[in-house]
Structures are given as structure tokens and as C-alpha cells.
Amino acid sequence: MALLETRQLVKSFGENRAVDGVNFTVNEGELLALIGSNGAGKTTLVNLISAFLHPDEGEILFKGDNINEWSPSRRIQAGIARSFQLVSLFDDLSARDNVALAIFRRDNKIGRVTSLAAADSAVSDEADDIMGRFGLVDKGDVRAGELAHGERKLLDVAVAFALSPDLLFLDEPTSGVNTRDKNQIMDTISNVVREGNMSAVIIEHDMDVVFTYSERIVAMHHGVILADGKPEDVRRNPDVIENMLGGVAPD
């Protein structure tokens, strides 16, 4: 059974069917890339799955349950987490607090009002451990708003990772990052995802990143799925080559 499945999912904005009858699956433990040109419907699809948007038609099944009417909070507790295309952090809080907040949420400790957050050494230690895995070991006390762009990207993913999800959506985790940092970020993410024994869906425009790191690729175009398969199959798919790779198959 697939971890996540969408059936005939539809979302329209006026006349534009951004997601048009999409059947999309994510299996347990896989690192999947969702590709497509701007406006293909990738982010809309993720927004529907994460409850940022509500579908017009169709079903979203997670671990066999229909989650169409579930709130974002319930979906997160069920095991779906996401990062955002534009880095989305708590800028006035320290990097450690950003990660710790996700751990407090995961462990249902957010209602504690009579104890100090910093005094919970189990949470602080785990936050430091997660930051260490994302290469942010000495950034714990730095305000999130003062981190460099690449560090903010990593922290954004670290916050989602700290929720210990079963399925993690990463919306363009390397956008706006230089080539050297891209590989470092993707190495970190793929290692952490594999060690964390979770499934991850990466929305990405950079084809080098996509073909290097993903085990399966789903290509979208104009709201529909154009191709779905192993990287070498998608790379040779004539529809993908024509519509998304500028008519030239990548090496």
C-alpha cells in the first residue's frame, strides 16, 4: 500500500485547472522528485496535500485514511510535514528555538506554561543534534533572521524534519543557492532523510539535482502528470524531453 495516494485530484483557480485529475502516489522510504516548469501544478499539489488548499474534487489518502477534511495540524500529527518555497522561519527566535518548537509540538509539550523552554534539556539536546545533522551545529544561538541564505534553507528543512514525519515535502530546497552549496544541501537532506527512515518529495527545477538524488521522478505539465518512473526512464520520455527539457535529453 502506498504511503500517500491522490485520486483524481482537481484544483482550479478561475478558469485555470492548476491540478487536473492527478493520481499521485508516494511509497514508503522513497526519495521522490516532483518536477515541472513554472505553473505545472507542483506546488499546488503539495499545498493540497498539506492542507494549505482544499481540493475541488478527488481524494487524498494517507496511510489508507481519507484526509481531505483534516486540518493542517491533524495532518502534521499524522506524519505529513513540509518546507516552503520561500524560506519560512521564526526570524526573531534563535535557530535552536525554531527547531525546538517543532519538537515541543511533536511531543505535545506546547501547552506547558509553568516551566522554561530552555530548561527542557531533552528537547534542547535533540534540537542541537538535529542542527548538527544539518551542519548548523554552531548556529544554535543565532537569530534565524541573521543566518545566511543557505543556512536558512537548511534550518527550514530541519524544522520540518524535527517533527519526525513519515512524509516530508521539500519545496525547492536549493532555490537561490549557489552550485557548491546546492550539492552540500542535497547531500545533507538525502542523508538525513535516509537515516530518518522517512519518505521525501522534493520539488526542484535543477535537473542535475533531480537526476542525482531522486529514486523516482514524477513530471507534471499543465496540471497533469506527464511521466512517472525511474530517473533513467523519465529522462528518455519523449513528452518530458519536449515539454520540460527543451527538446534535449540530459546526460
Binding site: S50, F52, P72, S73, I76, Q77, A81, R82, F84, S88, L89, F90, D91, D92, L93, D97, A100, L101, A102, F104, R105, R106, K109, I110, G111, R112, V113, T114, S115, L116, A117, A118, D120, D141, V159, A160, L163
Partner: protein
């Protein structure tokens, strides 16, 4: 290590200020003691208000409702129930205020930004209108008087000659006790996991929701706590004034709470306290100095917003940082 050093410095500074506060009635005249008591009461109001503004990112222009509700709860319970104990006043006042804040908050926290501010103000004016129009109950603009309450479970009564002087001195220490308690409780709240959640909502409510935070529910909790602190200030204020009119429920008084918080600096924990104390003296002496005192306060507010947005505490922090940086070079 750096955190330990700053915590130690803050603790030393806190105890020094407390020691200074404790000797005030012995070295200053009674009027100054009274003035400082007013300032400490307003500091509790500003501290509560800033849980919403500084820590949750919600600007309320309706906190006069909770301050006034606390004061009116005392006056009405004294008039109609014959209550004289300050501790009973506090219980009745804070519970009444929390209830009103729970109802108004449930309406307001569905919105943010200007819509939240306007709704908070509009609802506060409902309470003001009731106090203004229900003359048979509230005496309208004539207001209500209260006698000196008893303190510490009735062990301290204030009757006979010299009662005013004795009350002012005793009540000063009573207010200090509540001021310190309010300071400690609020500090724990804002540094607790709950407080961190509020700060995450302030910084980025969308992201907070997408790591599973119940954003509206926590805004509502913050609203109730904030209103209750401000209500406590209203309860503590009325024995000083011994008279309450609808003025404390009117929206300009909400503006004063905003003013003192911005004056001290809403981005720091202690800013609203400093702002409230400073504002109290500023207003008192401005009124004594010129009949155009509102204009003077207006100029201060304009200068503050344009030139000193971080408030008094922000300026002091920046200067201290520069001096430390200069010292290291």
C-alpha cells in the same frame, strides 16, 4: 556562558532595583510614594498588554476595557455586595476581567492586524457605553467611590485619623508584592514552551500553523492572560484613586497603554515596565507644567515613533552594546 553572565547581571540589577523600591517610602515624601505606586500599577497593565503586542504580534486598542472592568468590578462589588477585602476584590476583579477577555478575545482573534485592533477597540467601547449609560447601576459620569479596602485578609484596616497616610505607605508595599509576582509570572510565561509558541505565531503564523500550532486557540489564550493582567492593574488602581468613572474604559485610555508600552520598547520584556513608569511621571508633570499637556505628549509620541522605535530600553541596550564593542577594541 554569555547567557549565564547576562542572567547574573539581570539578577543583580533586579535585586538592586528592588532594594531601592523598598526604601522609597522612608526617603521620599508621600506624594512621590503615591506617584510611584500608580506607576507600578500601570507597569502591570503594560506588562499584560505586551504579551499580546510584543510576544503574539497583536495590537489591541481596547485594553481600557480590561483595566476599567477590573476597577468597576471592585467598585460594584463594594457598593452592592459590601465587599471590603482587597484580596476579595482581586479575586472578583481578575475573574470578571478574564471572563470578559475570554468573550471579546474569542471574537477578536479570528482577525489580525488592523481588523483585530479595530474590533478590540469597538468591543471596549461597548463596556464604556454600559458604564456611561447605566446610570442607576454605575452612576454614569459621576462614577463610583470606594472606601479604603482592608489588606492581608482583614489584618490591616485603615480608619480614623492618619488613615490616608498609613494606607498609602502600606499599599505601596502591597502593590510591590503584586508587581514582583506579575513580573515573575509573566517572565516564566514568555520563556515557557507556551510563550515560545506565541512568539512563533508573532513571527510567522503560517509557518506556525504548518508545524501544527493551534494558532487561533493560542492567540485566544494570550488574549485572556493579557486581559487578566491588565484587569489586575485596574483592581490595584482603584484603591489609589478611590473613584472610578467611565474615562478608564474609554478608548483614549487604551491609547495610553499603547503609548507607555511603545515608549519603553515593546520588543523587550522590561520595556513596557520602564515605559509605564516613565509615562506616569511624564504625564503627571506635563499636566502640572502646561495646559497643553496633550500636545506635549503628542510630540513625544511622534518623536518616539519616527526617531526611537525601539523605545527607552532599546536605546539603552544599543548604547550598552556599543560601549561593550568599544571596550573590546
Amino acid at each position: 556562558m554569555m547567557q549565564n553572565t547576562s542572567l547574573r547581571s539581570a539578577t543583580i540589577a533586579g535585586f538592586s532595583i528592588l532594594a531601592g523600591l523598598l526604601v522609597v517610602p522612608f526617603i521620599l515624601d508621600p506624594y512621590q510614594t503615591l506617584l510611584l505606586t500608580y506607576g507600578l500599577v500601570m507597569a502591570i497593565a503594560a506588562l499584560g498588554f505586551n504579551l499580546l503586542l510584543g510576544y503574539t504580534g497583536l495590537l489591541s486598542f481596547g485594553h481600557s476595557a480590561y483595566f476599567g472592568a477590573g476597577a468597576y468590578a471592585v467598585a460594584l462589588s463594594a457598593k452592592y455586595l459590601g465587599v471590603t477585602s482587597m484580596e476579595a476584590f482581586i479575586a472578583i476583579g481578575v475573574l470578571s476581567t478574564a471572563l470578559i477577555a475570554a468573550v471579546f478575545g474569542a471574537i477578536c482573534v479570528r482577525h489580525t492586524k488592523i481588523f483585530f485592533a479595530i474590533l478590540a477597540m469597538a468591543l471596549s467601547q461597548v463596556i464604556w457605553t454600559l458604564a456611561y449609560k447605566l446610570y442607576d447601576i454605575t452612576n454614569g459620569t459621576d462614577g463610583l467611590n470606594i472606601p479604603f479596602p482592608t489588606l492581608l485578609g482583614g489584618s490591616m484596616e485603615f480608619v480614623g485619623s492618619g488613615s490616608y497616610q498609613r494606607f498609602v505607605n502600606a499599599y505601596y508595599f502591597y502593590v510591590i508584592g503584586f508587581f514582583i509576582a506579575a513580573l515573575v509570572v509573566m517572565w516564566v510565561i514568555v520563556n515557557s514552551p507556551f510563550g515560545k509558541v506565541l512568539q512563533s505565531i508573532r513571527d510567522n503564523d503560517v509557518r506556525a500553523e504548518f508545524i501544527g500550532m493551534p494558532v487561533k486557540l493560542y492567540r485566544w489564550f494570550a488574549f485572556i492572560i493579557s486581559g487578566s493582567f491588565t484587569g489586575l492593574a485596574g483592581v490595584l488602581w482603584i484603591p489609589l484613586n478611590r473613584h472610578v468613572t467611565p474615562d478608564v474604559l474609554h478608548w483614549p485610555f487604551s491609547g495610553e497603554i499603547v503609548f507607555m508600552t511603545v515608549l519603553g520598547g515593546f520588543k523587550s520584556f522590561i520595556g513596557p515596565v520602564v515605559g509605564a513608569l516613565f509615562f506616569n511621571y511624564l504625564k503627571t508633570y506635563a499636566i502640572a507644567w502646561t495646559e497643553y499637556w496633550q500636545m506635549l505628549l503628542g510630540i513625544v509620541l511622534v518623536v518616539l515613533v519616527i526617531a526611537l522605535p525601539t523605545g527607552i530600553v532599546g536605546i539603552i541596550s544599543n548604547l550598552a552594546s556599543r560601549m561593550r564593542a568599544g571596550g573590546k577594541q
